[in-house]
Symmetry: C2
Subunit: 359 residues, 2 copies
């Protein structure tokens, strides 16, 4: 159990061997489906990991916010997609225009108001626009047949295609991931047809999520051209419990110390301020223990996780364990850096450069 | 609706008038019960707010980690209580000794192993030790009658009392908060008696939580001497829904922009990376909207909150709203600074100095 006793807990540790394997597998999956691979950098927020993604063949990065895109643009990344409807008002208007002037920038829209504000902000700066459609997640995005109407309202903008996020793939029901993948294919196809019907060529059709990414693509008149997985670079407890990854795929853990023990339970010094508090009803608990796969994290407070070991041996006070966060994107965003551990040896430390870059 | 259009969303805004009112009320409640007031700085992690707490009569600060205590010690605070069982192994051993040498430091223990490691780490440095007991929250702490046994194992340490955290006060059931307050009083009393029985004077008896703090103290042979509320400096949606605070008491909000609208719903640009993902089953959703008290945050992803407005008017794309996080400690830890807004005017910006100080 490599846990680097030279560092105080809690800390986040990256396994570079598992990371490299995940990068190669992600690139190979995209290539085998003929998709451009544009991984979501919100998961890791690390320049060093994004560089490895490009070295493995990523065409560019997906980002969540203008602030994230600014961090990666500063680090030399020049092909960035803000895959959400971005509100281009306030100071962000000038920031978007400046960003569009120095990188190849793609931006999502899903409303006439949003498109109008974006056109006013860009003032002709050369960004490309994709219309977001809802494939069943019911967050942002219009119904696929309405994509053309939004595109038609994009006066002064260069609409190049459509995108969706099939977030309902985070479903524990048997077949749930497959159904979401089918929904995604259908939504992209319908949305693309809606653009084509008004004379806009839907040359970019972007989809993907970590739970659907390993699945074969569904049938579609206009198949996807691009995939944007995030979590699969690291894996996490949600992906393991969804069946989309195995414990062997987990490339990031929180190393924690047992600080208290009683009656089949241990309390660790890693809580929601280290792991994140994500806990969908279908998960077994607030994360998993890599070396104790049958243990359950039954409670989580800011600085502590309470682990039930059932009838198994409870690790004693002072021992270290490796925790797999439920949602690794949340965990990485809570750390200032990730410790790269080769076995038990610290070989590097990567800054979470875009940590907290929410605007 | 003061939302400072000069700043890009999302950001955390502090209302200095409400903050000042909460500080005065917290100090007055402690004084009226004859309790030393030692607020928990993990909630705000801000030197500026801790200074105001001391100005209002706080005897010192409660901290969650050695790293937090180091930040506040560096800022000149000299009376600090680490109110958890601290594992004093690894590099932390020397950090604890250094800290104990420059401030008045109190440290929690709840096991023989923990006490032994702490004594080895301190090597005679003048820290005070409090035994943690479990009053019903079932996280850390021994059963109150066992406090004496732990204290007896604290060879070479200066045991000055007992403490508990009645975290089961986060209960939506009628009378739940009151029952937790009674449990706390009983646990402190029993634990103090257990120390006294082996000849250790339990002169410090520390308790308190934001939900129980406003309640009258229960009967006890050894009443509490100190209270350690955290959240009540700001208030949050959990406290409002528990009935421990009102919306008028809320002193910190996340300002967010509506980025997408459909069918009675708005999607905001503030998600779990701004608000935190805390969502106990008894809460109405993932937070509340200060200006739309009947709206429900039905879904939360990393960068978005989905708000259901029912039959009420949905604010349009581009408008701003104020979100009350479910758990304000989680939200503050996600920001690098808090914007102090007097009405709509930015009057200050306070660094979240101990952000991410988890070790």
């Amino acid at each position: 159990m490599p846990v680097s006793e030279d560092l105080d807990t809690p800390f986040l540790a990256v396994d570079p061997t598992a990371l490299e394997r995940n990068l190669a597998a992600g690139a190979a999956r995209a290539a085998s489906r003929g998709l451009a691979w544009r991984p979501h950098a919100k998961t890791h927020k690390c320049v060093e990991i994004a560089r490895r993604q490009l070295a493995h063949g990523a065409v560019g990065l997906t980002l969540a916010t203008v602030a994230e895109a600014e961090v990666f643009a500063d680090a030399g990344f020049d092909d960035l997609f803000l895959a959400y409807p971005v509100w281009a008002g306030g100071p962000r208007a000038d920031r978007l225009r400046a960003l569009a002037s120095r990188v190849r920038l793609r931006i999502g829209v899903d409303s006439v108001e949003g498109a109008t504000a974006l056109a006013a902000a860009l003032r002709g700066a050369p960004a490309e626009v994709l219309v977001e459609v809802d494939s069943g997640h019911h967050r942002t995005g219009v119904a696929p047949p309405e994509a053309g109407a939004v595109a038609a309202a994009c006066t002064g903008l260069d609409v190049v295609g459509v995108f969706t996020f099939p977030g309902h793939s985070y479903s524990p029901s048997p077949g749930g991931r497959g159904a979401a993948a089918d929904d995604e294919a259908e939504a992209l196809s319908d949305a693309a047809a809606s653009l084509a019907a008004i004379g806009i060529e839907p040359r970019v059709r972007s989809g993907g999520s970590s739970p659907t990414e390993p699945l074969p693509p569904g049938p579609a008149t206009y198949p996807a051209t691009e995939t944007r997985p995030g979590v699969s670079v690291f894996g996490d407890a949600q992906q393991v419990e969804l069946g989309a990854a195995g414990f062997d795929d987990v490339a990031l853990v929180a190393v924690a110390t047992v600080v208290s023990v009683r009656d089949g339970h241990a309390v660790l010094d890693a809580g929601s301020k280290t792991l994140g508090a994500d806990r969908p009803p279908w998960t077994s608990g607030f994360g998993r223990l890599l070396d104790h796969p049958h243990a359950t994290i039954v409670a989580l407070s800011e600085h502590h996780a309470t682990v039930a070991f059932g009838s198994a041996h409870v690790p004693p006070v002072g021992s270290r364990v490796r925790v797999v966060p439920n949602h690794v994107c949340a965990a990485a965003n809570l750390a200032s850096s990730l410790v790269v551990l080769d076995g038990d040896r610290v070989v590097d430390r990567w800054a979470v450069a875009a940590r907290g870059a929410n605007t």
